[in-house]
């Protein structure tokens, strides 16, 4: 039915396009001078139909579900739905939906079958009503645009206004996305903090998100203290940066100062490949090659190293970040004015001395900005740690141990879970909120640093 509605929309728009064009041409052939070209009259008709009707269809599709569900719930007989806890209410609705979809498990109670019939009925009605209203609105708009065709009608301006509105909408989508992120994280986080106090979340030192399955179960109470998780994240980030910063800076210095132009021309793109490889590939590389290698090495010198040591995840993440740091350092070094470099060389400093003592200090704000962006990257990086780091939150700074990170916890808490009403799944959104805020602050700060520094020398 949805396809039919879209089809009607397109057909009417096309019809309006052709009709308006013919009408405009007829005026033109009649010897009158048109204000706008016939093609603008045609386009006006098409856009006037397409835009509102498209909004109508999408709005209908988004809104019909809650409306239908509330009508369904209202129709259920007394005492079958109202008294139930939220989880069971959802189960009842899901069962009715699956019966309506044709999958019946066992023999459901007759009122459920009845409700399923009613649900199917409602859906059919909604679809029919949507198609009918789409057709009506589309035809109405087409007639409206046809009525406007005249020699004096400013169709081009009309079209341009619509196009401008569309483009404005496009650029607002970026803001809507941010609002959507904040809203979705905030709503679920607030629900989480109703169950777990904020102070416990921020200052607790135990992270044990396993929840009791029954009310009377005592064994697992669940603890949501972010500190061990945050510590693990910081540990892996530091490990990654201690690989990426030296290697990235040295490659940038070498490519900028010592390499021949030809070598640089192929070495830079090859280095960039490192950042184009999907992170899941690095994750698999970490468990396939790096972690076993580290463990074997540890056995060789008599150390016991955990199978998912932070070292493997951090090291591989460092490899991924190398080109990131090296290209920021490269840009920062290249942005230092030539006069500084020439002055230093003229005083008799070697190239190396020039880089280390003159260019590098001048480039430090830019490089620091790049490193900060790399920090936010490392904190938000997910797949490498999901595959190579641990699941248990331990309060340790030993890189040979297994630690967990914020992103790992978000993934493990949410994969395979659909219910949004236990602290366990909601905790993932609270973690997401923390991750979003921390990376946002770092990013804003870093971008400002990079830009400000550029302005000084421009």
């Amino acid at each position: 039915m949805t396809a039919l509605a879209f089809g009607v929309m397109l057909a009417v728009a096309l019809l309006g396009y052709v009709w308006n064009r013919q009408a405009a041409r007829a005026i033109h052939d009649g010897g009158q001078r048109l204000h706008s070209l016939a093609s603008y009259h045609a386009l006006y008709a098409a856009l006037l139909v397409l835009v509102p009707v498209f909004v109508l269809i999408v709005g209908w599709l988004v809104l019909q579900r809650p409306v239908i569900l509330s009508m369904l719930v209202a129709s259920l007989p007394e005492g079958t739905y109202q008294g139930l806890p939220t989880g069971e209410q959802q189960l009842v609705v899901a069962e009715i939906q699956s019966i309506a979809g044709g999958t019946v498990f066992g023999t459901p109670e007759p009122w459920k079958v009845e409700a399923a019939d009613y649900l199917g009925h409602l859906r059919d009605w909604s679809a029919a009503l949507m198609t009918a209203s789409v057709a009506a609105v589309a035809v109405l708009l087409m007639l409206l645009s046809r009525g406007r065709v005249s020699a004096a009608f400013r169709a081009r301006q009309g079209v341009e206004r619509i196009v401008m509105g569309l483009m404005l909408f496009c650029s607002i989508v970026a803001i809507l996305t941010t609002i959507g992120i904040v809203a979705s994280l905030l709503v679920e986080s607030i629900r989480f903090f109703r169950m777990v106090p904020l102070t416990e979340f921020l200052f607790g030192t135990r992270w044990e998100p396993q929840m009791p399955l029954r009310e009377d179960q005592i064994a697992a109470a669940g603890a949501f203290g972010i500190i061990p998780v945050a510590l693990g994240t910081v540990l892996i980030m530091i490990l990654a940066l201690s690989v990426a910063i030296p290697v990235g800076l040295l490659t940038a210095i070498y490519l900028n100062e010592f390499a021949s132009a030809r070598f640089r021309a192929w070495a830079k793109p090859v280095l960039e490949i490192l950042s184009g490889v999907p992170t899941i590939v690095y994750g698999f590389f970490a468990i396939l090659v790096v972690a076993p290698a580290i463990r074997n090495f540890g056995e060789g010198i008599g150390l016991t190293i955990s199978p998912n040591t932070a070292l493997a995840a951090g090291g591989v993440m460092g490899i991924m970040i190398i080109p990131f740091i090296s290209s920021f350092a490269d840009d920062a070094l290249a942005a230092v004015p030539r006069s500084l470099r020439d002055g230093s060389l003229a005083l008799g400093a070697t190239r190396g001395e020039t880089v280390l003592k003159v260019l590098f200090p001048a480039a430090i704000p830019g490089i620091a900005g790049g490193i900060l962006l790399a920090v936010s990257r490392a904190i938000g990086e997910t797949m490498i740690v999901v595959m190579a780091a641990g699941l248990i939150a331990t309060l340790t700074i030993n890189p040979l141990d297994s630690v967990t990170t914020i992103t790992v916890q978000i993934m493990t808490l949410l994969i395979g879970d659909t219910e949004f009403d236990s602290p366990k799944t909601l905790a993932a959104f609270a973690l997401g909120m923390v991750l979003f805020l921390v990376t946002l602050v770092i990013n804003i700060f870093a971008l400002r640093l990079v830009r400000k520094y550029r302005e000084i020398y421009d």
Binding site: L250, Y254, F284, I287, G380, I410, I444
Partner: protein
Amino acid sequence: MAETLEISGLPGRPSTMETIRGSLAARRRRETGLKAAGLVALGFAFTMLGLVFLSLIGTGYHAFTQTHVTLDVYVDPEMISEERLPRGDFDDAVEAGLAERVGGVESKAERRALAKLLSDGAQFALRDMVVADPGLIGQRVTLTVPTSDSFDQLNKGLIDRATPEENRRVTDQQIAWFDALDEAGAISAPFNRWLFTNNDSRFPEQAGLRGALTGTFWVLLICFAISFPLGIGAAIYLEEFAPKGRMSDLIEVNINNLAAVPSVVFGLLGLAMFIGWFGMPRSAPIVGGLTLSLMTLPTIIIATRAALKAVPPSIREAALGGGASNQQAVFGHILPLAMPGIMTGTIIGMAQAIGETAPLLLVGMNAFVTSAAASPFESATTLPTQIYIWADSPERGFVSRTSAAILVLLGFLVVMNLLAIILRRRFERQW
């Protein structure tokens, strides 16, 4: 020259030249040291890159062939009758064929051990044949069927025959049977086209990428269909029409920050908003595509703005001078000239999207799906999430499958990036 310029210092103190000369050796050493350190760092980065690719190719190339065994099977009318099709004891028939081929297998236990050579999918090969042509019942057919994962590994030399029998997944007796079959020429290892035509499976030898490839196709299609027009529209507005002021500054900062938001946060957005609030189906490419399109949007906007900026103002001035309206100048003259740059940026954005895993896992695209999605509303996996599923599977055969799937993914990335480079080389204009 240095000799003639010698300036003698104060008595008892070394001259400047002497100081310089004295430190020169150390300074040169430091210079060489820095250079060497730079080279070592570069070498480290290149070695790691090489190691990533070599380890993937080294484990992945095995999965591009699949060990098969060729059998003569008697389609026994007692086991398989036309009335019961498509049901029937196809497994018994295939096992009987294998036992006959090997010979000397009497006891039930032995026969069971022998049957372990065959993939679970072998019987279905026979079933499909007989269903397609029921006239085969009562005749002998020659059948080439996949072996099970263990014997696939044995044939590829991934199982060490020297390990003691109890630590091995295949017994000495089974190895002997397999070797006998091999000597008789019944074992073959053709190119594994099933890797691309089969759907996912719990058995490594039957698992293929078809579902993941169609899922990736749907996700990318939706991602492109949404982010491309939205991205271009936003970029044109911001670059050409937006009044400079607080609003456009806000949008600008917003876009730059969105580009740096961790991908897992977009996954949370998709989960809470599209699935939780709008009630879209879990695991469906429509949700994955929508989520990824929001992620790709900033990339496309930034690339499009750069491409628009690169078109010289003289083009616009000429168009305006010729009587075009502002929009006519943009859509008729500036946009076409910026198109190659926009396409390059879009391809790079799509290449990022194709390897994105975390947000897709959060919207449930790691479901075990054994059929290819016919529409973006059905459950599906994508290449990266399939890689994640296989990497998590304990069976050894999935190690090489995972690497092979990664190689396929990297293959797509290489093609997309080459396309972007070619586009840039071919159509980029120097003004």
